[in-house]
């Protein structure tokens, strides 16, 4: 029996209304993709207790989760498409490139160890041409830079001592590419009198799910669930600065692992801005911000939107005096994690990114704000505005407050 004849019954509720396909970013730029309705609930219905169907078009699904958010019947569309990816990987094999890309953590470890060389090499044209040829990673795609002094080397506290305790799931991006985001988060928490611990953790699994590496992804999910539950059961809240990681813990883990533990853990997961908003609602947020006179555009990552938590980054940043922030309300950026690096997906990635790039240009703000490191990567390539994470801005707002004696 095919081990991927997985048990998932939400497809039963599909009314075929096409809301998911209408809202799917990929379906909006190309007819090459079969659409989430077909590759999700429809395909699953045709495979249950029948032969497995491998549809290669599933490679174009970015697992952005927009389908889940648009479904009026709460069908777990992206769970179904992620299994379609796993089936495709199993039936068709996985490209070496996709194995590498899906292992963001290993790449991060290696690349940051040789950071100056990595960063320089990735900008050398002949090297990139060779990479495209051998690996299928598009030569024109800019890479995020890696930092030798990765976050693991900077901060490794295992226990928090304050009354309110936060365990920070750093994620690969803030660990290896943008330790400044992680630093900023620790500082922001410090300004609120909250001690932050760093639990044992592995990559959240999102790049694995996206590349059909379901088995490895589930292994990581199980590891993280076990590790983080030790913290939540001692009263810690789990906070993350990467909205894709947050989304995985809140949604995918529960949906894929189908365990009580995953459900339990999901109740304790917060996006950093969401967490600060709760502190504010409880009246305990330190709102002693310095004035920052800036006009900025906010871009909401798909994995943030999919959490159904409104727009916490804007809610918090609006508390900064002088800070003028506007939601750019653009559709998917097109980087979509590992998707935008792939040679054959690169044209779709650029096509997807056009809308966002136009809004950034038209708004002509001082800079762009977004939580997602991968969205930032696309914005860095397609726009000439600087991109900042909300935590970096908040840290500055706290730090600039004049010290009074």
């Amino acid at each position: 029996m095919h081990e991927l004849s997985f048990h998932e019954t939400t497809f039963e509720k599909c009314l075929k209304c096409n809301a998911c396909t209408v809202n799917c970013p990929i379906s909006n730029v190309s007819f090459d993709f079969g659409g989430p309705k077909h590759l999700g609930p429809e395909l699953k219905r045709m495979m249950d207790h029948q032969e497995v169907i491998d549809d290669a078009r599933i490679e174009l699904c970015t697992l952005c989760g927009t389908c889940d958010a648009s479904c009026p019947e709460n069908v777990h569309v992206s769970t179904l498409t992620s299994y379609a990816k796993a089936i495709h990987a199993e039936e068709n094999g996985t490209k070496f490139r996709d194995l590498i890309l899906s292992n963001a953590e290993l790449v991060g470890k290696l690349a940051s160890t040789f950071a100056p060389i990595t960063n320089m090499t990735m900008k050398v044209k002949p090297v990139r041409k060779a990479m495209q040829k051998v690996l299928g990673i598009h030569a024109d795609r800019q890479f995020p830079t890696y930092e030798f002094s990765n976050f693991k080397r900077r901060y490794n506290k295992k226990h928090a001592t304050t009354e309110k305790k936060v365990a920070y799931f750093t994620g690969c991006y803030a660990t290896y590419n943008a330790p400044d985001v992680a630093d900023s988060f620790i500082k922001v928490m410090e300004y609120n009198g909250i001690d932050v611990a760093i639990p044992e953790q592995k990559c959240c699994g999102v790049p694995m799910f996206a590349n059909g590496q379901m088995k490895q992804g589930l292994k990581n999910a199980q590891f993280n669930t076990n590790s983080l539950l030790e913290y939540t059961r001692q009263g810690y809240d789990i906070v993350m600065t990467c909205t894709s990681c947050t989304s995985a813990f809140k949604k995918e883990y529960a949906s894929y692992l189908k365990t009580e533990e995953a459900e339990e853990l999901a109740q304790h997961i917060y996006d950093a801005d969401e967490y600060l908003r709760i502190l504010h609602e409880e009246g305990v947020l330190n709102t002693n911000f310095a004035t920052i006179n800036a006009k900025v555009g906010y871009y909401a990552p798909c994995h943030m939107k999919g959490q159904g938590i409104g727009n916490p980054a804007m809610d918090i940043l609006e508390l900064i005096p002088g800070f003028e922030i506007q939601d750019m309300a653009a559709s998917c950026c097109g980087q979509c994690g590992t998707f935008g690096f792939k040679e054959e997906k690169y044209p779709y990635s650029l096509e997807l990114g056009k809308g966002l790039a136009t809004v950034v240009e038209e708004l002509d703000a001082d800079y762009t704000v977004t939580e997602c490191g991968m969205c930032k990567n696309q914005l860095d390539q397609l726009t000439n505005k600087q991109v900042k994470h909300p935590m970096q801005i908040l840290k500055t707002a706290y730090e600039k407050v004049p010290v009074t004696s």
């Binding site: 497809f11 039963e12 509720k13 599909c14 009314l15 309705k37 077909h38 219905r45 491998d54």
Partner: protein, 539 residues
């Protein structure tokens, strides 16, 4: 002057029995015309589980039916492979069932030669995850699933290529006699009202539940018990193999997989009219409640629709049994010349889907005897064209799901479908998404005569999925008008007809998701497309 057709035998009824008889007659070199009041399998032949019996269900109570079923099961797997899925089946005993019956049943199966094999409960549950975890004994049997739509279409097509003639939408309005011998039948076209006389030596009444009505036209008495059963279509296929309850046959004890769905049933209530296809919510609820024993949670599962059909049960004696369960499932072949003194009139009734070929064989044996024809039956060996088409569509660029369906379905149309898929971009459009049907497939299966979405459905599965034609019926109607296959009026009529039909079947199961689906369908057709009661639309 009415048009006249000359033939040797007229077969009345386009169900599996009728088409089986037609093919057997043709194979033995006898000229024949089949007349059907609507489309093939409009009646009982499509209103059933689609179960290819292993005979095990009848082993204890009806030895003859059991023997016939098992023998025909093996023959059909060989002769109509395109319409049979050899799924295998299980008989499962739940705690509520009588303990003694198990040994009795095993013994009875052995006696008539039906192979059974006990499988460990844990293994059975692994194979069939929806099966009740409390089952106490599970046996494997060689049950199968048969698609009555393709079966009838293919058997009829085979007869037609061998020279037989078929008139659908032709209702018999008179059976004419010369003295005490049948000489012709008059049929009336249901759409046009045009009448045709068919001169014949012999008439075979294979009209199923309409058998009494046909006998009345020939002025011979025929009492049939029309025993109506209710069945429901689950939203998806919940089992790999047939699941039966290991007890004396009763209501609500069979789940049969049918392509992408499972059909669950049934009940038995005697009704007067063969046209009684009424659906009763209370009956459905009782059936579902009973079904919980085999598949816990079935009450809460999404269903696509429900439907009813009548078993035409023949009983010589008069003691009526309202459940119909004790009447034999054996066939009844009546020679009205010996029975009622009417020459040239035979009735074949009773029997089962599984034994349709054998019913035809017995009937045509009698015809041959009457005609003095000495040709042996060959339908137990002669294969009907297979539907398998795996050697086609290698270069065809369509959705793998649509391709998978074609591999099992395209059959003798494969070449034509392949050519049109490879050459016409529009033909690649998957018009019915639930069942993955392309326009190419619809074009190839389009029946002659008036544009009718229900007839297309029987040939392609168009609109048989969860949305019940919410999207595909309008697409096909629009394409048909655009391509000059139907006029605007014909398309409107066909849409109205199809939607009315679907709404009826959905209505009785419309709780939860299906009620929303139904609302969406009605909104799209009645509000967005403005399809009003008269069948006019703004499409």
């Amino acid at each position: 002057m009415r048009p006249i057709i000359e033939t040797e035998v007229v077969v009345i009824g386009g169900g599996v029995t009728g088409v089986g008889v037609l093919r057997d007659l043709t194979l033995r070199g006898i000229k024949a015309v089949l007349v059907e009041q609507r489309d093939f399998v409009h009646g009982t032949s499509s209103r059933n589980h689609g179960l290819l019996h292993s005979g095990a269900r009848y082993a204890v109570r009806d030895e003859e039916a059991a023997i016939e079923s098992y023998r025909e099961n093996l023959i059909l797997k060989k002769t109509v492979p395109g319409s049979v899925e050899a799924t295998g089946g299980v008989f499962a005993k739940v705690p509520e069932d009588e303990d003694d019956y198990v040994a009795k049943w095993v013994k009875a199966c052995a006696k008539v030669g039906i192979p059974t094999k006990e499988i460990p409960v844990a293994e059975a549950i692994k194979q069939e995850p929806y099966l009740n975890k409390r089952v106490q004994a599970v046996y494997h049997v060689p049950d199968g699933a048969v698609d009555p739509f393709t079966l009838a279409i293919d058997v009829a097509a085979d007869a037609i290529t061998r020279g037989a003639k078929v008139l659908t939408y032709s209702e018999v309005v008179a059976i004419n006699k010369q003295g005490s011998t049948v000489s012709s039948v008059t049929v009336s076209n249901r759409y046009t009202g045009e009448k045709t006389d068919i001169h014949t030596k012999l008439v075979i009444n294979a009209a199923g539940p309409w058998g009494s009505h046909v006998a009345t036209l020939a002025e011979v008495p025929l009492k049939l018990i029309n025993n109506k059963g209710l069945l429901t279509v689950m939203n998806h296929r919940i089992n790999k193999q047939v699941i039966n309850r290991l007890r004396m046959p009763g209501d609500a004890d069979i789940f049969v997989p049918a392509h992408n769905v499972t059909i669950f049933g049934t009940t038995g209530r005697n009704v007067e009219s063969p046209e009684d296809f009424s659906l009763d919510r209370e009956e459905l609820e009782q059936m579902l409640k009973e079904g919980e024993a085999l598949v816990p949670g079935v009450t809460e599962m999404r269903m696509i629709r429900a439907f009813t059909g009548s078993r035409p049960l023949y009983q010589d004696t008069d003691d009526s049994d309202s459940s119909g369960r004790n009447v034999t499932r054996g066939l009844a072949l009546l020679d009205h010349s010996t029975r009622d003194g009417l020459e040239g009139f035979i009735t074949i009734t009773g029997g089962k889907l599984t034994t349709f070929r054998y019913m035809a064989e017995k009937t045509v044996d009698l015809v041959c005897e009457k005609f003095g024809v000495n040709v042996a039956c060959t339908t137990h060996e002669e294969q009907v064209a297979h539907r398998d088409a795996k050697q086609f569509f290698k270069e065809t660029d369509i959705a793998p799901a649509a391709k998978t369906k074609l591999f099992h379905w395209a059959g003798k149309n494969a070449k034509e479908i392949e050519t049109s898929l490879n050459n016409e971009t529009e033909d690649k459009i998957v018009v019915c998404e639930c069942e993955q049907i392309t326009w190419a497939e619809i074009k190839a299966a389009m029946p002659e005569g008036r544009f009718n979405l229900t007839d297309i459905r029987r040939r392609t599965r168009l609109g048989m999925g969860p949305c019940q034609g919410t999207f595909c019926n309008q697409r096909v109607a629009a394409l048909a008008v655009e391509k000059g296959i139907a006029t605007q009026e014909e398309a409107d009529w066909a849409l109205k007809d199809a939607v009315t039909n679907r709404v009826k079947g959905m209505g009785v199961v419309a709780t939860g998701e299906t009620s929303k689906q139904l609302q969406m369908m009605e909104t799209i057709y009645k509000v967005s497309l403005g399809l009003n009661e008269e069948g006019k639309s703004n499409v």
